[in-house]
Symmetry: C2
């Protein structure tokens, strides 16, 4: 027996899946309440003993990777939700609202951010189950930028304008962007995406790590400045005043809800 239930999973498999879910849940609770992420703490929080966790993860690092992936997935969902509060014909608005949400999330959950985006070890190990489930924040931002390109048709460099190393990279991108729909002559779009990600990651990481005047961080002006300077490359220069208003609204409302925590 054990052939199937309604979802094709045997009873044990379902239980195992539930345990995985509980592991990430317990881990995120720990992280959220400022505690260290440790095998023992997670295990005891689940009413288990530490060695038992080795039935599910091969090492401590694997646990970290697992929850990092799960955090990325759920955080990305909130970014997407923010974008979806705007109509689909406002690609620029959707993009800036999503990146603003990214910044707010990072500043509110610095440990989670560090785990996912500043963990030098995690990287290559992003290979548990449904890695191909197109979650991962990267996908979202590339998709939103692609939407913008479809609407503004901003200029992208041609392939032979690109440096050789970049050309290689955009022709065979590692970070799986949805480039299948992009015609080959417009693949410079991927380069624009890399530039944008660099800008976004840079300012957010700097703010989260705190290597900047706290007053500047709190105001969000540096973040806005970076976006403001980058937006023209996406053909959003004219729209910037409206987009900036959108972002400021979200920054302020985030600051408000931060005071009553």
């Amino acid at each position: 027996m054990s052939v199937a239930q309604d979802d094709g999973l045997t009873r044990r498999e379902r239980q195992r899946e539930a345990t995985f879910e509980e592991i990430t849940r317990a881990s995120r609770e720990l992280l959220g309440q400022g505690a260290e992420l440790s095998l023992r703490a997670v295990a005891t929080k689940m009413g288990m003993t530490a060695p038992a966790l080795y039935r599910y993860v091969g090492s401590y690092q694997e646990l970290v990777d697992l929850v990092a992936y799960e955090i990325d997935k759920s955080a990305t969902a909130t970014f997407a939700a923010a974008a979806d509060r705007l109509p689909t014909d406002d690609a620029g608005g959707r993009l800036v609202v999503a990146v603003t949400e990214f910044r707010t999330w990072a500043l509110t959950n610095p440990r989670e951010f560090a785990l996912v985006f500043a963990n030098p070890i995690a990287e290559a190990a992003c290979v548990r189950r449904e890695m191909n489930t197109l979650a991962c924040s990267g996908h979202l931002f590339t998709d939103l930028m692609l939407e913008v390109w479809h609407q503004t048709h901003f200029a992208v460099p041609t392939l032979d304008e690109l440096p050789a190393a970049i050309r290689e990279s955009v022709l065979d991108p590692l970070i799986p962007a949805k480039v299948e729909k992009v015609p080959r002559e417009h693949l410079g779009l991927v380069w624009a995406y890399m530039q944008g990600w660099t800008q976004l990651y840079g300012v957010v990481a700097l703010e989260v790590m705190g290597h900047m005047d706290p007053r500047v961080i709190e105001s969000g002006e540096m973040f806005l400045d970076v976006i403001r300077n980058y937006a023209p490359r996406l053909g959003l220069g004219d729209e910037m005043p409206r987009l900036e208003a959108l972002m400021r609204a979200r920054i302020d409302s985030a600051a408000e809800s931060a005071v009553n925590d």
Copy 2:
């Protein structure tokens, strides 16, 4: 007695100073050979036992802060040395060469970089002895940028053009830049510096953390692109071809010496 020697330090104080020096030396050796930085490891490397270190640092975190500060100091010296290989009248060259050296150092010593620039805890604790010895990489880059401004007199926003939060921050800067010599109406320079630091930190941190296509990192094109896009704000737009050649030379020579390690 014990009043003085030639340097006003008593024998014990000199010995203590030497021990501090040995602590940072041992720590950096450990870091350099890929080991973890731990109190025990440092102690045994010095022929001591772990609790003895508590006569010098109050906690593990304090040890980390100590070596972070020392690393920053010595790394900054190498950046300055790179700049000093160019004549003083080439302020632009000196700046781009220094930041290129910064990037190379970061990629070559990722652990050290993470310790100094991605340690969320270190920050406020940067207060051991000669913190006021104007080392800290921040000082160097502000000085080099100030040189550039003296030569190109690039445009900086006036105080009332700045957002309120930024105005406060440049009028009373936390990161102690050499702003005493800057007349009040040109204090927008500090804002330009903050922007530049954001750009530099962003791309370098992204490269070090590895959240980018390795081929792009290896080529250095993203780093060059960031500098290229920022340079015009410093009045270095016309000089960019020459400056880019300078940087490429340093990037390539660094890549060469990396293959035979």
